[in-house]
Subunit: 404 residues, 2 copies
Amino acid sequence: MNGKSTTTRTKLERGRSALGPALELVHTGRAPTRAVLTSELGVTRATAGAVAAELEALGLIKVDSSPGSAAGSQGRPSHRLSVRDSGPVVLAAQVHADGFRAALVGLGGRIVATVPGCVAVMADPAQVLGEVVEAGAQLLRESGLRCVGAGLAVPSAVAEPEGTALNPLHIAWPAGAPVRDIFSACVRAAGINGPAFTGNDVNLTALAEHRHGAGRGAQHLLCVATGHRGVGGALVLDGRLHSGSSGLALEVGHLTVNAEGRPCHCGGRGCLDVETDPLAFLTAARREPGPEESLLKQSGDLLRAEYGDPAVRAAAEELIDRLGLGLAGLVNILNPDRIILGGLHRDLLEADPERLRAVVADRSLWGRSGSVPILACTLDHNSLVGAAELAWQPVLDDPLAALA
Amino acid sequence: MNGKSTTTRTKLERGRSALGPALELVHTGRAPTRAVLTSELGVTRATAGAVAAELEALGLIKVDSSPGSAAGSQGRPSHRLSVRDSGPVVLAAQVHADGFRAALVGLGGRIVATVPGCVAVMADPAQVLGEVVEAGAQLLRESGLRCVGAGLAVPSAVAEPEGTALNPLHIAWPAGAPVRDIFSACVRAAGINGPAFTGNDVNLTALAEHRHGAGRGAQHLLCVATGHRGVGGALVLDGRLHSGSSGLALEVGHLTVNAEGRPCHCGGRGCLDVETDPLAFLTAARREPGPEESLLKQSGDLLRAEYGDPAVRAAAEELIDRLGLGLAGLVNILNPDRIILGGLHRDLLEADPERLRAVVADRSLWGRSGSVPILACTLDHNSLVGAAELAWQPVLDDPLAALA
DNA sequence: CACGGTTTGTTCACTCATGGCACAAAGTGC
DNA sequence: GCACTTTGTGCCATGAGTGAACAAACCGTG
């Protein structure tokens, strides 16, 4: 009379199958009310009601039925759905050239608490990640919230399925460092629950922007960003990150964008990487590059503050033209329906949006593709939020299993 | 390439949900027996049995229970599954520079009947497609089989969602011709049942090779092929064709592969398109190009018959190096786990596989990605079979609804 | 302020795909 | 022949989801 199920079959732990999609809709803000949830899921009102009630019982969302607020249209007002404030969180961490940042991120990409750690990044990933995770664990203790996973963003390609960082150049880690294993070990050592994930920062930026920022609603979202050195890219297809068969997709830095350009370490010349990064900009603008970590900031400030300066403007236009050529090449290959730019590329876009759009339209094959919207990244700490998305994914896929 | 696989599923027409996946497994040859089907679907034997029985009742597959054939292993031999011989077919058609071909294609990519029509392709798409469809309808009448749809492959990018051919250059059709609408109209006029689809021939080649040829089992399959003029590409991700947001993805012809190369009509120079097509090969080998339609054949024959000739060999090696550079660029962007080559590119691969693989490995960023397997297309009439796949897709997605 | 009209939430019986079992069937090896 | 293994089949339980009827909450209008 007691043991109904002894063996843990796969299907036994399967909950309501619409649970995951429903949570994702609330998570991404596409289901503000239960009525919208019903139509978005394509189920009956009864089912949507049961699903919403179950998600509320799990402590993930809030179903607000009381308020006689501004309805606008006629008919009975629908219950409003939102992410629960004091629901579970994930630990998100980000490592970059200037240091690290740890945060607690709730559903909806909401940063609950964050602390920027300002260590000078050292060559030992284990030590750095230990500090990052400890900072996150401290936040977690202070908050008293439940943690369901952890995610880490690193400025390097991450090979699948090994989880090794292939080119963590500007954080001076050894190439091939097993960052995923190290991060997982740190997370476990800190007593944090849930699985741990690691990904490339530009990939995670794209993921975050797709779910909560400028990429919302795009079906084929291309993201290109410059960090301190080098160029990264990412592609989100139908809501899922496309990182290739071994995690190395969208290494777009070595598209040729200037046949007479400077030689690149890859063996070619005129690569996007060396033609559109902050160092290239400062050089073209005939400014003295400062210390490496601040190249990005230095470039952005210069671009915003002194765009009137002919040398700065000429340098910017040169880079915009190169960037446009690279983007046009990617448009021809990937045919995205939206492009978002980060880092210096974002600053270049904002300096002269029309010029960039014109170059892309002119150099991509079809007028249609050329009219791809090009937008700037909008989220603060987008790769941090992206790292959190990584950790949230199991919950979105199967809330019952992930919270069990 | 027509309907974007409507995600808004109306539960009314929902049959057994495992029906589609099961049919796809049999269709692609990945479920030779019912036992394999059971494990591949991840369901119980009872369910797999019911699904197989239902597919058999629908006249789509054959369940072979009798044979006491060579089992090999111990235990009760499983029923063998195969595509039914006299089951429904789709009408597949292909238009190319030398004429057209029409065929009836069953499940499993089996060409039941075919007729090569050898018209000189004229400037009027309606007339050509009318002839093609009529040839197919004739085959259909002779066979007496049931037709559940039609698919067409054209040597041009096909814009979505309009279904217009953007660059049907070597068949002398007007750019922007509404090929899908024309084809659909012809199919309806011929009294053929089922929906009609139209797609780019290289895309369809990739789809066919993925399901029945050299691309089987690949998760991220990149296909690059040269026809008579120009280069086309295609990408199959997780079994579905990726054709971008408006059908124009993988227009790979204008990757720069030779900084000092000849100018291209796209505005750049040294594009893959003009550096690795049959005309480029013949020119490099200092041979007199014949009439346009036979450039491809002429090149292939030359490559196979006279590879000992120093001029031919040098030309081939030059093209292989250029092609390798282009493929390496695509590897960096797409990170496929397999590459298949068609047309002249296939001939180049077979002329010197090691050289091509070495170039790709050398010029792609990571050793891992460099070791991507590069294979030749294997199917006869692969774009024809791919066109059939397009027409089969609704049946694979939902057999009950599609056959109703 | 009662009135229909509209939209949404809720309850309940019903459907049906699937899991879980027990048992039968069909092979191999000794 | 007999154990053993593997697969097919019949039957019941489960549970997610539907569909329809009803209740609730808001709008307007007179």
